[in-house]
C-alpha cells in the first residue's frame, strides 16, 4: 500500500520531481568537480531561471507578451541591495541617499523578500488597467512600462545612485542559495499553473471570448498572475544583486530582456518544463559561443576584436526557433511520468484525471 501511495504521489507531482532532481544533480556535480568560474556560471544560470519562471507565470499562461519583467527584476535588485547593505557602505556607494534608507539594514533573506514584495507592490499599483489590453496594445504598454521603470532607475539618484554603478553589495548568493531559489520558484510556478487561477488564465489564453462567456473575469485573473510573476521576478532580481555585487540600471534593460525572452521562447513559454529546459539550453549555448569569442579575442585569431558574436548567435537561434517551433521545444507539454496502469490500487489513488 505504501508503495502504491508513493507511486501515486510521484505521478501527481512528477513534473516537479523530474525537473528538480536533475537541477540538484547539476548543482551537486558542479560543487564537487568544478572550479570557481563554472560555479559562478551555474549560479547565474539558476538566477536567470527564476526570472524566466517569473515571466512564464504571466506570459506563458496568459499568452500576452511581457516586456516589463526585467524592470521588476531591477526593482527587486535595487530594493534588496539597499536593504542588505551596511550603512557605512551605503554612505559611500550612494552619496545622496535618503537618511531614512541609510540606517536600514536587514538580513539577506529578509532583503530578498522585501525586494520581491516591493516589485509586486509596484506591479499591483500600476498594472490593473493595463490588463484590459491584448495583442499589440498590451505589448506596447508593457514595453512602455519597462522604459518608465528604466528611466526612474536611471534618474532617481538618491535611491539608485543614478546611471552610475551601484557597488559594495555582499556576495550572499551562493550556488546552493540560487538552486534552492530556483526549485522553490519552480514549485510555485507549477502550482500556480495547475491552480484554479492558472486554469482560468490559460482558458482566457486559448479563447478570450469563450472564457469570458463562462464567467471568467479575465482582467482580474491576468492582474493576479501579473502581480505573482512580478514578485517572482523581484525575488530573482534580489538574488541577482547579491550574485553580481555591482550593477547599473542598464543591467535591467533591453539586453537582459532579450536574454530572458530567448530562454523562455526557445524552451517553450507554455509550460514550466519549457522554461527550465530553455534556460539551461540557452545558457549552455551562450557560454559556449562566448568561450569561442573570448578565445578568438585573447589569441588574436582575427585581425579585429569580435564583440557581439554571442548575441548574433542567440538572435539567430531565436529566429530559427520561432520559424521552426513557434511554441518552443516543449510546446504545451510538461515532462511527466505516468506509472503503468497495472495495479488497481494505484489506479484508484490516481483517480484525478490528468489536466493536460
Amino acid at each position: 500500500m505504501k508503495r502504491a501511495r508513493l507511486i501515486a504521489w510521484l505521478s501527481r507531482y512528477s513534473t516537479i520531481v523530474i525537473l528538480a532532481v536533475p537541477i540538484l544533480l547539476v548543482a551537486a556535480f558542479t560543487e564537487l568537480i568544478a572550479g570557481t568560474l563554472l560555479i559562478r556560471l551555474v549560479t547565474a544560470m539558476f538566477v536567470s531561471m527564476i526570472i524566466v519562471l517569473g515571466m512564464q507565470v504571466f506570459m506563458g499562461n496568459s499568452g500576452i507578451l511581457a516586456w516589463a519583467h526585467v524592470g521588476f527584476m531591477g526593482i527587486g535588485a535595487y530594493v534588496a541591495a539597499l536593504c542588505s547593505m551596511t550603512p557605512h557602505i551605503k554612505e559611500i556607494a550612494i552619496p545622496q541617499v535618503y537618511p531614512f534608507l541609510l540606517n536600514l539594514q536587514l538580513p539577506f533573506w529578509l532583503s530578498l523578500l522585501v525586494g520581491s514584495a516591493i516589485a509586486a507592490l509596484v506591479a499591483a499599483v500600476i498594472s490593473y488597467p493595463l490588463m484590459r489590453l491584448s495583442d499589440a496594445a498590451a505589448a506596447i504598454t508593457s514595453f512602455a512600462l519597462l522604459i518608465i521603470i528604466h528611466a526612474v532607475l536611471v534618474h532617481w539618484d538618491r535611491v539608485t545612485n543614478g546611471p552610475r554603478t551601484l557597488f559594495g553589495i555582499e556576495e550572499y548568493t551562493t550556488l546552493w542559495i540560487s538552486v534552492s531559489g530556483a526549485i522553490l520558484m519552480l514549485i510555485l510556478a507549477y502550482f500556480f499553473k495547475e491552480s484554479s487561477l492558472g486554469l482560468r488564465l490559460r482558458a482566457s489564453r486559448e479563447d478570450y471570448h469563450a472564457a469570458s462567456a463562462m464567467g471568467i473575469n479575465i482582467t482580474q485573473v491576468r492582474y493576479l498572475s501579473f502581480v505573482v510573476s512580478a514578485a517572482i521576478a523581484g525575488f530573482g532580481g534580489g538574488l541577482f544583486a547579491h550574485y553580481i555585487t555591482s550593477f547599473t540600471p542598464d543591467a535591467f534593460y533591453l539586453i537582459e530582456t532579450f536574454n530572458v525572452l530567448a530562454m523562455l521562447v526557445v524552451g517553450g513559454p507554455l509550460g514550466i518544463s519549457g522554461a527550465v529546459i530553455g534556460t539551461i539550453l540557452v545558457t549552455v549555448a551562450r557560454e559556449g559561443v562566448r568561450a569561442v569569442e573570448n578565445t578568438i579575442n585573447l589569441n588574436h585569431l582575427l585581425p579585429f576584436e569580435v564583440i557581439g558574436l554571442t548575441e548574433v548567435f542567440l538572435a539567430t537561434v531565436l529566429i530559427l526557433s520561432l520559424i521552426l517551433r513557434p511554441q518552443g521545444i516543449m510546446g504545451s507539454r510538461e515532462l511527466r511520468w505516468k506509472p503503468k496502469q497495472s495495479s488497481g490500487e494505484a489506479n484508484e489513488l490516481d483517480a484525478q484525471p490528468a489536466s493536460e
Binding site: 512600462l145 528611466a151 564583440i307 538572435a315
Partner: protein
C-alpha cells in the same frame, strides 16, 4: 524673433517625427506588427553613410542615395528571411521575431564595424545657418522640413493615385478582403517593407545630421519616438501617424522649454506614461478610422 525660431525648430522636429512614425505605421497597418527592428534600419542608413564617406570620395548626395537604398534592401531582407516565415503564426511570435532581428542587426554592426561611435562626414549645408526676415535658423532645420514635407506629399500621391498605393491602403483596412480581391499578399507586404525602409533611410540622413556620428544603438531613439507618435495619432491610420508625429514633436519641444530641470530628466518616462494613458482611454488615437479590423494571420 526667438518665438519664430522656436516655432521653426518645433516644426522641423515635428516633421521629422512624422516621417519616423509613418515608416513604422505602414507595416503596422497591414500586419498589426510593431516592428522593433525599425530603428535598426535607420542605423543601417547611418553606417552606410559612414562607410561610404570614410572609404571613398563619392559625393555626399550619392552616399545618401546609397544609404536610403541600403535601408530599403535590409528592410526587404528582414521580411523575406524572418517575418514572412513567422507571419502566419501568433502575433507574440511575430513581435519577438522583430525584437530578435533588431538584436541581430545591432550586434552585427558591433562585429562588422565597431562598438564605438563613428563620426559621419556631413555636407557643408548641414552646419550653415541662414537668416530670413531677421529669423536665424540652421539650414538643417529648413532641409528637414522641406524634405519631410516632400516625402509626405510624394507618399500621399503614391497612396492616392497608384495601384500599389491603393492596394496598400486597402490591405491596411482589410487585409483578408484585399487578398480575396486578387491582390497578392506577399507583394503588398514586401512593398510595405521596402517603403518603410526608404523612409527609415531618409530619416537616417537627418537623424545622423543632428549628431554627426553613428553607434549600433542609435536606432532606439527613433524607435521610441515612433512608438509614442503612432500611439498618440492612432496606430491604424497613416494620417494618424503623421498627425501623431507632429503633435509629439510639438509636445516634446514645449516640454523642453516649460518643464523644470528636475522633471526634465523624466521626460521619457512622461512620454511613455502618456502612451499608456492614451492606449487605455482612447486606444484609437487622435485620428479615428472607418474600419477597425482585428488582426488576420
Amino acid at each position: 524673433m526667438i518665438v519664430f525660431e522656436f516655432i521653426i525648430n518645433a516644426i522641423s522636429v515635428g516633421s521629422l517625427y512624422a516621417l519616423i512614425a509613418l515608416g513604422l505605421v505602414i507595416i503596422y497597418g497591414i500586419l498589426k506588427m510593431v516592428n522593433f527592428a525599425y530603428g535598426e534600419l535607420i542605423m543601417v542608413g547611418g553606417y552606410l553613410l559612414y562607410l561610404v564617406g570614410a572609404n571613398t570620395n563619392i559625393p555626399w548626395l550619392i552616399a545618401a542615395v546609397i544609404a536610403v537604398v541600403g535601408a530599403m534592401v535590409v528592410s526587404y531582407l528582414t521580411e523575406l528571411v524572418a517575418f514572412r516565415k513567422v507571419r502566419e503564426k501568433s502575433l507574440t511570435a511575430l513581435l519577438i521575431t522583430t525584437f530578435a532581428v533588431s538584436t541581430l542587426l545591432q550586434n552585427s554592426a558591433l562585429i562588422i564595424i565597431s562598438p564605438r561611435a563613428k563620426a559621419v562626414a556631413l555636407p557643408q549645408i548641414f552646419s550653415t545657418t541662414i537668416t530670413i526676415f531677421n529669423i536665424t535658423t540652421s539650414m538643417r532645420n529648413i532641409l528637414t522640413i522641406v524634405v519631410s514635407i516632400a516625402m509626405l506629399v510624394g507618399l500621399t500621391f503614391l497612396f492616392r493615385n497608384t495601384i500599389l498605393g491603393i492596394a496598400l491602403r486597402a490591405a491596411a483596412d482589410d487585409f483578408q478582403m484585399t487578398r480575396m480581391l486578387g491582390v497578392p499578399a506577399n507583394l503588398v507586404i514586401s512593398s510595405a517593407f521596402v517603403l518603410s525602409g526608404a523612409i527609415a533611410g531618409v530619416v537616417s540622413l537627418f537623424w545622423i545630421g543632428r549628431t554627426a556620428s553613428v553607434t549600433p544603438t542609435i536606432g532606439l531613439g527613433p524607435l521610441l519616438i515612433a512608438f509614442v507618435a503612432t500611439v498618440i495619432g492612432g496606430m491604424r491610420s497613416l494620417v494618424g501617424a503623421v498627425v501623431g508625429g507632429f503633435v509629439y514633436g510639438l509636445i516634446f519641444s514645449f516640454i523642453g522649454v516649460l518643464l523644470p530641470q528636475v522633471l526634465l530628466d523624466y521626460r521619457e518616462a512622461f512620454m511613455f506614461l502618456i502612451v499608456i494613458l492614451i492606449l487605455l482611454l482612447r486606444p484609437e488615437g487622435l485620428v479615428r478610422v472607418k474600419y477597425a479590423q482585428e488582426r488576420v494571420g
